[in-house]
């Protein structure tokens, strides 16, 4: 008699499973860690969608795109969240993405947004972070940094293995164009070293190994809000700051197209957007009603915001990398 009961139980379980649709969202690893936005986002979306939201993590943004390319048309993803504008051209080329179809949301980005496939959920500016108590007069531009005494050292990330590293590459290119290689030669004596990823570089900076580290203008907000430490600041540069815009898109072959679209809408909702600042430490794509948390600096004016459109970023990349390598390999 025990078996029929088990069988009935198993059947009910499968039926319940079949009734709850599953939405699979691929993203980078730090989004879903317990300190990232993932857990709160999952709880909030599941409270309204009547679905099971499953996050799948893959390294960082570039690894995420790599994985998607390896999976190709057979991918299990319904939504991919965590690419940035330096990757979207290549992501669009895969032909895996469908238009997001969200047109009626006012984004609070300093630049206009006209991408049919990808929708931003947060953004930030790259910047050099320093310790106010140790460096009272930080350089105020790349030119000043290059002219500073040799003892002033920065630590940066390798554009070949790191997202901020690539950001800096495009930042210098956007600010100096054909003079980028000369600027890199000027910066070279100040570059203490180049690390594989952001964590190594930031860790070295906090240990006092370098005077400045390539990070984001929003990094000091973490120290202020989470640690009550206001000694860290981001140095404003006269040339302007390159932007990172993080985006999501839905997969064309998804078996949950409505749910995927619902998720993209939810992504720009008050609930999702108010989770972002103090978990991802970036500016939300739509400023929540309550404004930015205290400790976040106000975004820069549009004329200070540098960014290449996706196609241009992709076209510019290889040349910029060659200039960088030539200047730093001496």
């Amino acid at each position: 008699m025990r078996y029929p009961i088990f069988a009935a139980g198993a059947l009910l379980a499968t039926m319940a499973g079949a009734q709850t649709p599953v939405l699979t969202v691929y993203t980078y690893d730090s989004f879903i860690s317990e300190w990232g936005p993932g857990p709160q986002v999952e709880a909030a979306f599941e409270a309204t969608c009547g679905c099971d939201l499953q996050f799948v993590g893959a390294g960082d943004g570039a690894a995420l795109l790599g994985r998607l390319r390896l999976e190709g048309k057979r991918t299990h993803a319904d939504v991919v969240l965590g690419l940035d504008t330096n990757l979207t051209a290549a992501a669009a080329e895969t032909g895996l993405f469908a238009p997001h179809g969200v047109a009626d949301v006012a984004l609070s980005l300093p630049v206009s947004w006209e991408d049919e496939l990808f929708l931003p959920y947060d953004w930030g500016y790259f910047a050099f972070v320093y310790d106010k108590t140790k460096l009272p007069h930080p350089p105020a531009s790349f030119a000043e940094l290059a002219a500073a005494p040799k003892a002033l050292k920065i630590v940066i990330q390798d554009p070949r293995s790191s997202t901020p590293g690539l950001g800096l590459l495009l930042w210098v290119k956007a600010a100096y164009g054909d003079g980028a290689q000369a600027m890199w030669q000027g910066l070279a004596p100040h570059i203490l070293t180049v690390t594989k990823g952001w964590s190594e570089a930031y860790g070295m900076f906090l240990e006092g190994e370098a005077d400045m580290v390539l990070s984001y203008t929003t990094s000091p907000a973490y120290h202020i809000i989470a640690e009550g430490d206001d000694t860290k600041a981001a140095a404003p540069f006269a040339e302007g700051h390159y932007m990172q815009v993080e985006v999501a898109g839905r997969i064309a072959s998804s078996d949950q197209p409505e749910l995927a679209q619902e998720f993209l809408r939810f992504m720009l909702s008050e609930t999702f957007q108010s989770i972002i600042p103090t978990t991802n430490w970036m500016y939300p794509a739509v400023i929540p009603d309550g404004g930015l948390p205290e400790g976040f600096s106000a975004p820069l004016p549009p004329e200070q915001s540098l960014i290449y459109p996706a196609a241009e970023a992709a076209a510019m990349r290889d040349k910029a990398l060659e200039e960088w390598r030539a200047a730093l390999s001496r």
Binding site: S30, F55, G59, R67
Partner: protein, 524 residues
């Protein structure tokens, strides 16, 4: 040798199966990456520059590590002092820590703001920069000097005590012992140690880049990263990995050619007493080597401990859960390593010193020459059509780490096994011992030490690993190294330092348990 006349035993077939597994994980994954490529591209000048730099730094790193390890191992082999066992266990530490932790530990000592420069500043000497080739070498010696010392120390301990007794009764001075006993042993052991370290340094990436000071320190592994992430050029990634294999294979072949196996003969496993080394000058010399090596290794570790101590007791529960998973993976990996290494070593010994035996050993070395990124990508390509790679993330970690530990295990097992076979094999056969009886009564008692060492190393290596499954780690089943990286990515550097300390404690603890288990009856 008339070995060929004997029937090929089951161990040879098992060994061949293990070799096939290693080949499919290394060359097989590489092939998968190659076949998945969307275009074909050749290597450019920048790639060849990376190959040249990689070769140069790997050769120098291996040479320095081994050259320094010989006097340290000799000192450890002929001295007894309190804390010796602890020091030998600590020798395992650098090798098993995540790269990011070691880099920060080394910088805390040798960096701009480190202990060394603070001390030099006091006496008025300008700061020394660690960034450059010197930094790469310091870090690689820090990682590999302990391993080289352990491998060479195994060689010393394999010389039976009776040889030293005989030497003493013949009135040998230290010089004579070196000539008749130690040099032949080194001739057999050192080339292997050199090769293993050379191959390890071949796949270095984050250490070389960070301490090398920038893009001039680009290694092949970084070029593979670039090909995969930056250009999604799988054929170039596979080509570069192939170059890595080729160079490692050449190194392995050279080693087998240079190494002259030594058979010191049978002994009664007595405690070694060294009458030849009682000379006062030798004592001072040995003391100095041990002290210098200990200082070099312990200072960065001490900085890691000091950094992590504050946060160790405030770590979130998820970190401890991750630690539990990592221990489980490590234990699985240790068991698997032994299950693979014993038949492989046995087959290598049975096949004799000819080409077949050399190939078996060489296959083991393939595993460390493999690029973690290429293995991970290849496995993903192979698994994705048939199963959910994410669900298999932890077992895959255990298997890959077991295979990666194999070269070290066979390196420790093969000489001991060969000695046991050549010294007792004939006697055992004349007594009609075969199969399990032979294994239990003749081989295992003589293999206890290398078995303990291999299992300990496999467990510890597996604890610290992150590389291979980065592409398909299961977010809800994070291992300790992954959790450590997540803490760092979330700005929580202090807690990350606590997690690093926990990782250090657990890895060393596991290593100590296994290694100690292998040395229960010896005072070594």
């Amino acid at each position: 040798m008339a070995r060929r006349a004997q029937p090929i035993g089951a161990s040879v077939w098992v060994g061949a199966a293990v070799a096939a597994l290693i080949l499919s994980l290394t060359l097989g994954t590489l092939g998968a990456v190659f076949l998945r490529a969307e275009r074909f591209s050749a290597l450019g000048p920048a790639d060849w520059a990376a190959v040249r730099f990689t070769l140069m730094q790997a050769t120098l790193s291996a040479f320095l590590s081994v050259a320094l390890a010989v006097p340290v191992a000799r000192a450890l082999a002929r001295r007894r002092f309190p804390g010796r066992g602890l020091l030998i266990t600590l020798l395992g530490a650098p090798f098993i820590l995540p790269v990011i932790v070691v880099v920060l530990g080394i910088l805390a000592v040798f960096g701009r703001n480190g202990l060394l420069n603070s001390a030099l500043g006091v006496v008025g000497i300008g700061p020394l920069s660690v960034y450059g080739l010197q930094g790469v070498l310091i870090a690689h010696v820090f990682f590999n000097l302990p391993l080289a010392t352990r491998l060479i120390l195994q060689g010393w301990l394999s010389i039976p005590a009776e040889r030293f007794r005989l030497a003493a009764s013949l009135g040998f001075a230290a010089r004579d012992v070196t000539r008749w006993l130690e040099r032949p042993m080194l001739r057999a052991v050192v080339p292997g140690a050199f090769m293993v370290i050379f191959v390890i340094c071949m796949t270095s990436f984050a250490v070389a880049l960070t301490l090398g000071g920038g893009p001039k320190a680009t290694t092949v592994e970084l070029a593979i990263y670039q090909a995969f992430r930056f250009e999604f050029d799988l054929s170039r990634a596979a080509l570069l990995a192939l170059v890595q294999f080729g160079l490692s294979a050449i190194a392995a072949a050279l080693t087998l050619w240079v190494a002259v196996p030594s058979v010191s003969g049978a002994g009664l496993d007595r405690i070694v007493a060294r009458w030849d080394a009682r000379h006062r000058g030798l004592r001072l010399l040995d003391g100095a080597w041990i002290a210098l090596a200990a200082l070099f290794l312990i200072l960065p570790l001490a900085m890691i401990v000091a950094d992590g101590l504050r946060a160790l007791f405030t770590l979130p529960p998820s970190v401890f859960a991750a630690a539990g998973r990592s221990v489980a993976v490590a234990l699985g990996s240790a068991v698997l390593t032994l299950a693979l290494a014993l038949p492989l070593s046995l087959a290598a010994v049975r096949l004799g010193r000819g080409i077949a035996g050399g190939m078996m050993e060489g296959v083991g070395a393939l595993a460390i020459a493999a690029s973690p990124l290429v293995i991970g990508t290849g496995l993903f390509i192979l698994l994705f059509p048939i199963a959910d790679p994410v669900a298999l993330a932890l077992p895959v970690t255990a298997v890959v780490n077991a295979v990666m530990s194999l070269p070290f295990a066979t390196r420790a097992l093969v000489p001991a096994l060969r000695d046991a076979e050549e010294s007792y094999g004939k006697l055992a056969r004349s007594l009609g011992m075969r199969g399990f009886t032979h294994l239990r009564l003749v081989l295992l008692p003589r293999l206890r030490r290398p078995i303990g060492f291999s299992a300990g190393l496999a467990a510890a290596l597996s604890m610290g690993d992150l590389g291979v499954i980065a592409l398909f780690a299961d977010p809800s089943q994070a291992t300790l190294p992954l959790q450590l990286y997540r803490l760092m990515a979330a700005y929580r550097m202090e807690q990350a330092a606590g997690a690093a300390l926990l990782l250090l404690i657990l890895s060393l603890g596991l290593f100590w348990l296994f290694d100690r288990g292998g040395r229960v009856d010896a005072d070594a």
